[in-house]
């Protein structure tokens, strides 16, 4: 990192972590960190009163790993130019490599385009541990951004056996070992038990439906893993994709799952549970015929609960690519929509699938899905519980974030979209009755500030002294703009930051890439007592000898896969 000083003058700072709501001030940066003051010789950037936030933090995106299956299933995605400046083919320049794609851009484009939106950190939502090497190979080629990834544990044989045999300490040791083996940051659970059931062409129907051959239920898997998560004092809570995703009536399972975690006592100052892409899990009705929004019920529960965070999984109209470890859901999608289908078996660990699809405002189901994401954001009162996502590219590509921000900030914009819906769609949603419009302050919370605590990364998502100098300056004068009316301007400004700084380096200027430094990769090394660790290793030795197609020594991701690692050590409470 270069030794340098920067003074950002006249920044209209919106930093909810410090309670600063669009106040004009100067920001000082030295050696990649925010500091109190800088010397006379500091380089000056004149923000000219424009909106300034910490760098954005996308805590749930599919940007490395499975996205590659999406790429080879959708070669036509390379030429899609649906969002000008942020999609489609772009020739290489002196500063940037060639770019293609929309939902499944090449790795370089992912880095550049997030940076153009003012984002500086991403979290890959699902690393199958057996394929972790590939995820890190892609991380290596995503420029600018800091990265982390969540490792999949929800349908893992060893996990289910330890849960069944009531061996919480060995389970914690296995989770710690898995995170180290995959260089992962946290525990992801996708349709607990469902991935294993899918190996037999089945699914689990809810929290108490036993997993074939393992004699455990999804509820037991969830509770076992959260106990391990807290025993290890991991920086992130368990990150849960609920059972029954994408099925009418699933909001009940979602609330039931959330309730189950009320009794969990986090050992780190953060939430006990993160529930992801809740839009896909907030469906009411009993079939696709009487399908309707379940957002009011879910939001009602969330408003009274303080132990969890969630993200939206907002739908964007147009082509998307669904990619998930939820194998049975993808099979159902492909049959229902007559779409291409890719399915993968991750040996003893999980399943996965990829299906491209297109959301249309003319389909009442898609229209209601679109509304549910926004309803959740507007009906849940406390923005500190909400992370903004499209579950990119499941609900739509991240390059549409600026468009989606206008849905949250402008009732007029929503009316425009809603006016294209049929009567049936309108009857099944509550969105037309909602007039709440989010402020820049609330938007900042959902796109960067809340992630800081959610992932225990105090140096991210805020502009406090000592934090990373990841800064986004947008071409918006907050006192002169009414986002409710001038939503097009808001979208424009968020689509290409006036400046994005990463660790104090200007990486974007006037919406163009200026520099492409290599970001960090965070991973968690959790300490486990040696005797428990060696007992656990005896069990996994058998797994590798009997079942895996690779040997244990070839399974671990080596240090050379992480050119810029940040190892987060935790002590554990055994």
């Amino acid at each position: 990192m270069r030794m340098s000083e920067i003074l950002i003058k006249n920044a209209n700072v919106c930093d909810p972590a410090q309670g600063i709501n669009c106040e004009t001030m100067d920001l000082c940066i030295r050696d990649g960190k925010i500091v109190e003051s800088v010397s006379e010789s500091a380089e000056v950037i004149d923000a000219a009163g424009r909106l300034t936030m910490a760098g954005g933090f996308d805590g749930h995106t599919h940007s490395a790993g499975k996205i590659n299956v999406g790429r080879f299933m959708n070669p036509n995605d390379a030429r899609r130019t649906l969002v000008p400046g942020l999609s489609g083919p772009e020739a290489r320049t002196e500063k940037t490599r060639a770019q293609v794609g929309y939902n499944t851009p090449n790795t370089y484009a992912i880095g550049y385009r997030y940076a153009k939106l003012g984002y500086t950190t991403i979290c890959e939502a699902a690393i199958p541990m057996l394929a972790a090497r590939h995820t890190h190979e892609e991380f290596k080629e995503i420029p600018i951004l800091d990265k982390m990834g969540l490792s999949l544990f929800g349908s893992n044989w060893q996990v289910m056996e330890y849960v069944r045999d009531k061996e919480p300490e060995k389970l914690a040791a296995y989770v710690a070992w898995g995170l180290k083996a995959s260089r992962g940051y946290g525990v992801k659970i996708v349709n607990a038990g469902g991935g294993e059931a899918w190996g037999w062409g089945k699914n689990v129907s809810g929290l108490y439906d036993p997993v074939p051959n393992f004699d455990v239920t999804p509820a037991e898997i969830l509770m076992g893993l959260v106990e391990a998560n807290e025993k290890l004092q991991l920086p992130h809570s368990v990150h849960v994709h609920c059972n029954n995703l994408g099925k009418p009536g699933n909001y009940e399972t979602t609330i039931e799952t959330m309730k189950m975690f009320e009794k969990v006592k986090p050992t780190v100052d953060r939430q006990a549970l993160h529930v992801t892409h809740v839009q896909f899990n907030a469906y009411a009705g009993t079939s696709w015929r009487d399908f309707e929004t379940g957002a009011p019920m879910v939001a009602d529960y969330l408003n009274g609960a303080n132990h969890l965070t969630f993200d939206l999984g907002q739908v964007i109209f147009g082509p998307a690519v669904t990619m998930t470890a939820d194998g049975p859901v993808e099979y159902a999608n492909s049959r229902m929509l007559h779409e291409k289908w890719s399915n993968q078996d991750i040996e003893l660990e999980d399943a996965s699938g990829v299906v491209p699809l297109s959301y249309s405002p003319k389909s009442f189901i898609n229209a209601v899905q679109w509304a549910i994401g926004i309803e959740l954001a507007l009906l849940v009162e406390d923005p500190w519980k909400i992370m903004f996502t499209t579950d990119s590219p499941n609900g739509g590509s991240f390059v549409n974030y600026p468009e989606a921000f206008t849905y949250l900030m402008s009732a007029k914009k929503r009316e425009q979209v809603i006016s294209g819906f049929g009567k049936m769609a309108l009857d099944r949603m509550v969105l037309p009755g909602l007039d709440r419009e989010l402020s820049f302050y609330e938007l900042a919370i959902m796109t960067r500030s809340m992630q800081s605590k959610m992932y225990s990364r105090p140096e991210k998502g805020n502009l406090k002294v000592g934090s990373d100098a990841d800064v986004a300056i947008y071409d918006i004068i907050t006192s002169d703009i009414d986002p409710s009316v001038e939503h097009e301007k808001v979208k424009q400004a968020f689509s290409g930051a006036a400046y994005t700084l990463k660790d104090g380096n200007v990486v974007v200027k006037d919406g163009k890439i200026e520099a492409t430094p290599m970001g960090r990769t965070y991973w968690v090394n959790a300490k486990v007592p040696a005797d428990i660790d060696s007992a656990m290793n005896k069990d996994t030795d058998i797994k590798f000898k009997k079942y895996y197609t690779v040997s244990k020594s070839n399974y671990m991701v080596e240090d050379s896969y992480l050119p810029n690692p940040v190892e987060i050590r935790t002590e554990g409470a055994f």
Binding site: M73, P75, N76, D77, R79, H338
Partner: protein
Amino acid sequence: MQVVKLSLKKANKIPIEADTVTPDNFAGKTKEEIEAILVWYGNGQCPLGDFFTVEVEGSDSAENTKIVFEGDVSRVKRIGQGMSAGEIEINGNVDMHCGFGMKGGKIVINGDADSWLGCEMKGGEIILNGNATYYVGSGYRGESCGMRGGKITINGNAKDYLGEHMCGGEILVTGNVGLLPAISNNGGTIVIEGNATMPASEMKNGTVIIKGEISDMLPSYKEDGTEEVEGITYRKFVGDVNAGGKGMLLVK
């Protein structure tokens, strides 16, 4: 009427991507202006005049502009890509993607054409007086819709995957075709006067007429009486049942 004659100065090994060579782009332009039009050559762009001798007679609108390639252009790709009017005549063989996405006008090729002829064509006409290669009138990789309109006539043979993912328009082949013509098509008409192998697999909609012999007729078609087209009675098959298709496959 404007006539533009292009003759290759020297046979090129590295392909030229001539997607800018269309009547729309040439109409009303002088010799110098046409010579300055850029084409891709390897990883860089070069003026057309570097490769071709350009002769221009007259000046007119796109509809009244004709481009004539004198001689073989078998390493020149994407001629007439996206053209909407006018005519292109190629007196020799042509490389891949000729007439890609064309919307109108006419291309006449007096020679053979490489793969992807008239791929994603929406309108206009292509007449090939020679043999075609793979994927005539098909879709871009990964797309669910290929040719949507217009007509391709092949006075010769074609290789595999003719009309793949075709959604509309017409293809006529006077000779034989290779494997899997009309695969995954969803509309349009394909007439093959010669022989074909495994036609119309996964057809959802559309009409395929095979006048010659069929090798490996797919078992996933239901016979449904006969159909008369232009005075000839064919056995009528409906399918592809595997894809829930309602396409019509007519065979002798």
